[in-house]
């Protein structure tokens, strides 16, 4: 039986794999904090339970991915507690806080859908640990997407315009997260089972389906053009704002159990 070792990978491929996993993990870190911060905006007890459940799952995904990233030479403590705002590789989509309940649901839907697409590319990864991690994350994301779809159906009953407006406003940032999909070294190296371009198209297809739920025309814009501060390996532009970093940063490193 062949054994998989990151050390055997071409250094550029290993770096690309590490970067993609960190981009998903950091997006989950910020998304988990979104859920935590927005719990009190829930509309009912089931909402509170759902938001807390999703926060636990999504933060668990971040933790699992950080643990896997230890294989790339990091320490877990550094990944979780030792990085500044400029080293967090979360999706730009989540930089601006939600402006309404509709915007919140649109944002979490896009972030979950996009991050799932990227993780799904590793379902057949040669390392069974990573493939299994992708599958477990997918199984939980399945329900998170259902939650957003359930709310989209309710938004439809009252017109749904605010939800579609929020979805359209946030969508270009989610699409931009996929970056330049023209060349995919991870697919070429057998690390990703389908090309990134196919995953990006799959993402766009899934988002378009939510128009069926809302029963409104959805004219999705293109991705935002990357600025000069675009960091392809982090899949984001610029550093995290200090305000958002204050929310997600590890507050008390001295209290960490070694």
């Amino acid at each position: 039986m062949e054994t998989y070792s990151i050390a055997d990978l071409d250094p550029a491929v290993a770096k690309a794999l590490e970067s993609d996993l960190l981009a998903v993990a950091d997006t989950k870190l910020v998304l988990g904090n979104w859920f935590v911060m927005c719990v009190n905006n829930g509309r009912s007890l089931p909402d509170f339970a759902a938001l807390l459940g999703q926060s636990a799952a999504v933060l668990g995904h971040a933790r699992s991915l950080y643990l896997y990233l230890v294989n790339f030479g990091h320490t877990y403590q550094h990944l979780e507690q030792g990085r500044g705002a400029d080293a967090i590789a979360s999706m730009n989509l989540l930089d601006a806080p939600p402006q309404s309940w509709e915007d919140f649901i649109a944002s979490i839907y896009l972030a979950e859908q996009a991050s799932w697409m990227l993780m799904s590319g590793f379902l057949k990864h040669p390392d069974r640990a990573l493939a299994g991690l992708a599958e477990k994350i997918g199984q939980e994301t399945y329900f998170h997407l259902k939650y957003a779809n359930g709310w989209a159906a309710l938004f439809a009953e009252s017109g749904g315009e605010a939800f579609i407006e929020a979805l359209s406003a946030r969508y270009p940032l989610a699409l931009a997260w996929f970056g330049d999909t023209g060349h995919d070294p991870l697919h070429e190296a057998g690390q990703r089972s389908v090309p990134l371009s196919a995953l990006k198209e799959g993402f766009a297809r899934e988002v378009a389906k939510i128009a069926d739920v809302v029963r409104l025309p959805l004219d999705l814009p293109d991705a935002v053009e990357p600025g000069s501060d675009w960091r392809p390996q982090s899949r984001r532009s610029g550093p995290l704002s200090e305000r958002l970093f204050e929310v997600i940063r590890f507050k008390d490193p001295e209290a960490v159990h070694p």
Partner: protein, 87 residues
């Protein structure tokens, strides 16, 4: 907005609920009580035939759609042939 995604009639709420049966009498005549049971991973139903309340675990191994799944026949089969979801 004061509504929540909870509705009466499990099959109307979600296709995933259409195969749920009462674990005691196997009746399909059930109603949704809560989208969350004793934990967030469970849904609570009530059987209208034998009046038993029961929890159903959401964890059925399903995955969201992705182009990557087209190449994963085992997962696709597991999704399509998910059992009657008894708990």
């Amino acid at each position: 907005m004061s509504k929540t995604p909870v509705r009466a009639g499990p099959e109307k709420l979600d296709d995933d609920f259409k195969d749920v049966r009462c674990p005691h009498c196997e009746s399909a005549d059930i109603t949704l009580v809560s989208l969350f049971g004793s934990s967030v991973s469970e849904v609570m139903f009530r059987c209208l035939a034998c009046h038993t309340f029961f929890n159903w675990v959401k964890w059925q191994g399903r995955l969201p759609a992705s182009p990557a799944l087209d190449e994963r026949d085992d997962v696709v089969r597991a999704t399509a042939a998910s059992p009657a979801s008894r708990q």
